[in-house]
């Protein structure tokens, strides 16, 4: 009996914390649908009164959101492809070989994960500027973000590779594979889920990337939606409903994708932990 009450108590606490955590998200949706005067009403209304869905089309058109989202998509896709391409091989090597150099590399990879983007942007900016990379600002952002996201990807995918018994590749070697053949035909297909899930997470991160884009992309036609949203918010902004509508359009597709893929993402991330 007391165990059951205990469970119920914990469940209530979890739901409460979840609600607090998710409240800003709700507030975004709610505010987007409120009228100008309702936003500033006191006490605030928790459920918007007059629902005005026309605001989304209006914001989409006036803020040129199609272009911003396209840029976000380009940067996210490019970053994801770069990370997956370079990171998979790296993760494989870190998973399969064991020596002092591997340990040092692993330590460095973990350390990179600690450095915040806002700290790194100045040296990266100076370096990229010297190399002339800032003439291709979206590519520059992809590169910088790839470096930032790589450790996260490598650590996740390394765990996936470690869960694949090395004997499978040895069997393939004896069966007639070369070392690279065993990697491509045995290890890679078996790690597919882990790689896919990690890549999706990288894509989602890159889609919301702000610091590098804001600093490196001057040309407004090349800026992603995150920078576009930032430009929407002036010092005297009162159009909160429009800003929130913009945010809604920006966030909802990622959110929907996450909810749909949620089960696969969780199982993909934990599969390394199981046998």
């Amino acid at each position: 009996m007391s165990a059951k009450r205990h469970t119920r108590l914990l469940l209530t606490a979890a739901i409460l914390l979840g609600a607090i955590y998710l409240f800003p998200l709700y507030w975004m949706y709610a505010t987007a649908l409120k009228s100008g005067s309702e936003i500033f009403a006191y006490p605030p209304t928790f459920i918007p009164r007059g629902l005005d869905f026309g605001i989304f089309a209006e914001v989409w058109a006036t803020r040129d959101m199609g272009r911003f989202l396209w840029n976000s998509l380009v940067i996210a896709t490019g970053s994801m492809a770069l990370v997956a391409l370079l990171g998979t091989g790296c993760a494989y090597v870190l998973a399969r070989y064991r020596n002092v150099w591997i340990d040092i590399t692993l330590f460095l990879v973990l350390m990179l994960q600690v450095l915040p983007a806002s700290l790194m942007i100045t040296p990266i900016f100076v370096g990229f500027s010297a190399l002339g990379l800032l003439d291709f600002p979206r590519f520059a952002v992809m590169l910088a973000f790839t470096a930032k996201a790589m450790p996260f990807f490598v650590i996740l995918v390394r765990a996936t590779f470690m869960s694949i018994p090395a004997e499978l590749e040895e069997a393939a070697l004896v069966d007639g594979n070369s070392r690279i053949g065993a990697f491509a035909l045995i290890a890679l297909p078996l790690a597919r889920n882990g790689i896919l899930v990690s890549a999706i997470l990288i894509f989602m991160q890159a889609f919301g990337e702000f610091v590098y884009s804001k600093s490196m992309i001057q040309d407004v036609t090349l800026q992603p939606a995150s920078v576009g949203l930032n430009g929407f918010m002036g010092p005297n902004t009162v159009e909160w409903n429009k800003i929130m509508a913009y945010a809604t359009i920006y966030v909802t597709p990622i959110l929907a994708a996450f909810v749909l893929l949620q089960q696969r993402i969780v199982s993909g991330l934990t599969s390394g932990a199981l046998k």
């Binding site: 069997a171 004896v174 594979n177 045995i186």
Partner: protein
């Protein structure tokens, strides 16, 4: 079976950093023979097998397969097939694809692959399972698929790395016979690693006993049992294990006095150096109970286990002496017994080096 050696290991050495895993291994394996590498865990038997497969590189010496040095040959060019302890079946492929993987890699024609798969499946009784994935098979079936993947290659050499250790006891005995029958039918050379001396004794033509990276002794199974070269081999081969008792050769050199209560004396079949300290080895199945008045080891039965076919008798305290009796003896716990052994069945070992004294 010709006398041409299929595999030659010439002073093979292997170092892992500071650890000397294989020390001067010299083994010659004739074509078509079944060789067992046996020893306790960590003795280097798996390392030796993996070196043969090319999965480990050796630090010194030479490995030859049909006369050709293969030290620097990658596994795929050695023409060996290996069955792993964990089977190492490719989980993302069906049984058919698992077995035909090597053929598909060398781009064999479709018809040839289908024929080979059908052949091997018939030999192993896997015909109904070809389209299943490995995780939908039982342990025994997976074992067969692993065998099939090796057989289909038709290689010069089969390597087995403890292939039966994940099976239950009954299946293990069955597969033991089946693997040996397959070997006899196919006629390729087989090298079989196991920690189970019964498997080694029952399956192999030639047994190599390894301990800490050194070949302790090699030879025909029964010669290892009858004339073990060292105390280690004597204790390792045979089940239950040989009893060892400290002792000293009598003044006459024709008997040995044991370090047991009452200092019993056993006659020897040969003359030894008088007053030499020795370790005396007595196989449980060679000891018997003396009912007459001949001298023997006076002790008491501390525990009696009867399986129906044989009776295990545990006698004395330190060291305990195990006796296996095939007759049904009516002996109860705590009863005094006198044990005797035929003089030519007594093994003597040097207490320092462990070498057999003959």
């Amino acid at each position: 079976m010709t006398n041409q050696p299929q595999i030659e290991l010439l002073s093979v050495n292997k170092h892992y950093g500071g650890f000397h895993a294989l020390k001067d291994i010299n083994v010659t394996i004739p074509k078509g023979s079944f060789v067992a590498l046996v020893g306790p865990s960590g003795c280097g038997k798996s390392t030796l097998l993996r070196s043969l497969a090319g999965l480990e590189s050796i630090s010194g010496g030479e490995i030859r397969i049909t006369g050709k040095a293969v030290n620097d040959t990658p596994p795929r060019h050695r023409d060996v097939a290996m069955v792993f302890q964990s089977y190492a079946l490719y989980p993302h492929m069906s049984v058919r694809d698992n077995m035909s993987y090597s053929m598909r890699l060398r781009k064999a024609p479709r018809a040839e692959i289908d024929a080979a798969v059908a052949d091997v499946a018939a030999i192993l009784g896997l015909g109904d399972y070809l389209d299943r994935k490995p995780n939908a098979l039982s342990g025994g079936q997976r074992q067969r698929v692993a065998m099939g993947r090796a057989i289909i290659r038709n290689p010069k050499v089969f390597l087995f790395d403890e292939p039966l250790s994940n099976l239950d006891a009954a299946l293990r005995v069955h597969m033991r016979k089946e693997i040996r029958a397959l070997h006899d039918r196919i006629g390729a050379t087989s090298v079989y690693v196991t920690h189970d001396q019964i498997e080694a004794m029952t399956m192999a033509d030639h047994v190599v006993v390894l301990k800490s990276g050194v070949v302790e002794q090699q030879g025909a199974p029964l010669s290892l049992y009858d004339t073990p070269a060292t105390k280690f081999v004597a204790g390792f081969i045979g089940s239950p294990a040989m009893n060892f008792v400290g002792g000293i050769v009598a003044d006459t050199g024709r008997a040995v006095t044991l370090d047991l209560p009452g200092a019993p004396s056993l006659p020897l079949a040969r003359t030894m150096e008088p007053r030499r300290k020795v370790d005396v080895g007595l196989r449980p199945e060679h000891l018997s109970i003396e009912t007459g008045d001949a001298p023997g080891i006076e002790t008491t039965a501390t525990s009696v286990e009867s399986t129906g076919s044989v009776t295990y008798l545990y006698c004395g305290g330190s060291p305990e002496i195990v006796v296996v009796l095939s007759e049904r003896e009516r002996i109860s716990q705590g009863e005094p017994v006198r044990l005797t052994i035929a003089p030519d069945k007594i093994h003597l070992f040097d207490p320092e080096t462990g070498a057999a004294l003959r």
